[in-house]
Amino acid sequence: MSNDLFADSLADKRDRLVDDKDQRVAERGLSSVVRQTDAVLRGIPSPIQVLNTTVQVLCPKNTLGLSFAVRITANPETSKIRLNASGVVFAQLRSIVSSSSTPLVRAEVSPSRVSLDSSHMSAGDLYSLDLEVPIRPTGLVDALVRRDATHESPKSTDSEYWMHAQIRYPESLTRRYPGGFDLRDVEFPVSVAITEHLKTVIPRSFIQELEAGVDLLAERSPYEKDILGRRHVAAMRRRGHGNTMELLGNLQALFFPESFRKYVEVFDDFVYDSCERGLSFYDSLPFPTWPRAMNVVSRAQLGVNHWFADGVLKYKRQDFLDRVKDVMGLRVRSPTQP
């Protein structure tokens, strides 16, 4: 049995810790990143001397952030220094320790080159040259990062979802990028189930009202329609709080990202990013507008020396159910309640 990091499942047979295909994708991806970095390095002319390189994968933008610590070796002869760096989408030159009074050098980015304003540069100045290029290898982050999250928590406990991300091939990163390789804001989606107990806070009177409304809409006979209409109105009066469609609209609004966001909290190494209605593939029912789950996206930082991230996503179920009760007019709120 091999003792390689991550190279072992504890069983000798089926091994899902390391996937050969993923490793090939990761190695190919890292090689491609090296080539992209080298191409940019070759385009940096004198009098700029590169002292150190760090690489970041900026996940949300799907770009590669290259930071070069550079020294100006001689006073520039022209007012602009041009870098032959095709595909650069962002560039800036920040002074690290500079005799210049301008900490940030103006950079112009065109499709095939970057021009840096060298009018204030002097020999000996130290800068950080930051460039961003679109990431070429696809699937690099997936291949490099193992993501695990629970599908649910046991029903007797709070609604907490553990999340864990770890770098799969740390030795590949340290070998290729001893100066640093970071994965910034790695996306981490978790599906948060929201239907539990929901039925218990929808009053029976409202369900009867819906049933009466549905029957009313389906009825063709004017006489029956009249009877059903009275039944529907009586059911609405019994409930006595807002009209049916307005209430359904208010319930829908709870699933808007900005509303639902109040009911999730993310702890430890992860930070909340966004949420959206979850898709259900198994439903043979026509209610995509009523989600069973919300997809909550958190983000984490990984890289050389940050091999893992662990955290918890907490769904404040009771608060959400209380809000549903509010919408249904079932809860009397004190003036101090939010």
Binding site: R146, E152, S156, R168, P189, F281, S284, P286, D310
Partner: protein
Amino acid sequence: MVLAEQLETIAGTNVYVPATCLQGEDLPAHVRWEPGEVTTIRVRVPAKSIIDRHDRVVDFSAFKVSGFLGLVFETRHVDTGKLRVTVAFQLLDRMGRTLRQVEREVLLFRPLLKVEPIPLSVFGPKINEHGVTNLQPPLGVSNVGDGTALVFVQLVDTPTARISQPARIGEFFKRYRDDLLKGVREVAKDFPKYSPLLGAYASILESSSPPSESIKRRLRSLDRRLGRAFEKSDDFLEAFVGSVSRAFFKNLEVVTEMHSFLDYLNSIGYGRVILMNSLDTLHFGKGPNVLRFRLHVTDLQWGEYPWIDLEPIVLNAMEPGEIPVYGLFSWSASAGG
């Protein structure tokens, strides 16, 4: 917080294992320690529940990155709904002496359906006190496990009765599915890279119920692949979601907002049960109908469970009739549910 205790750091050593795990999920773990004396990490995992039939002890050494060991365990279904197991980590020096020993307890849980004694004969349909058309008495089923059960109800070897989609849902779903398939084909033209993925999605849309094991496997894979594709391309995500929305809203007149919310509520059972075909309807004939129900069960990660065949029951009907599938059962809530 449940997980807080798992994060304690013992003398520069941090051992992480989640405190809970749905049986069948992968269980990640890591050990972080101050580089120096540690040369071997011995991991002991328990029998049956994790990975193998026997207790396993495995030594990890010659670390390529000093101070960090990452692991992922496979977990398995066990017969019980809840099982507490211990994963033990021993950090050893080159002489084999134990420098640290850390144990982590994990609660492995799953859905577990318990069927109440089935009556020999039943009557139906009856309108119960809540106005729901149901079997009298309804079949008592409860989820005594801690995980969510997705249940699909099927009728087997019953010539006098059948379960089928109500016309309203059938009409909506056919139109919705046809439009969605058209939309998906358009998306595939614009994103040829994802054409095989969209083909897999379309074939699942066209597949028949109940979900077979192969469909569950395909769903698991599809779920993962679509997630990755969405992550890589916002444009693809937008086009895909757009095709789903267009198909839905185009056919919305068939199903009202009120109907859809009722259907949604009716599909939810108590105690973490979701009925996958809640709106299907049992159609039965006049006279005695010998009903043999089969419950197909899965969990939120499409785990494979044996189906449950209920004892046959006789429904004596004065005349032909129908009952929605959600009206066949009473889902008793179990503790904590």
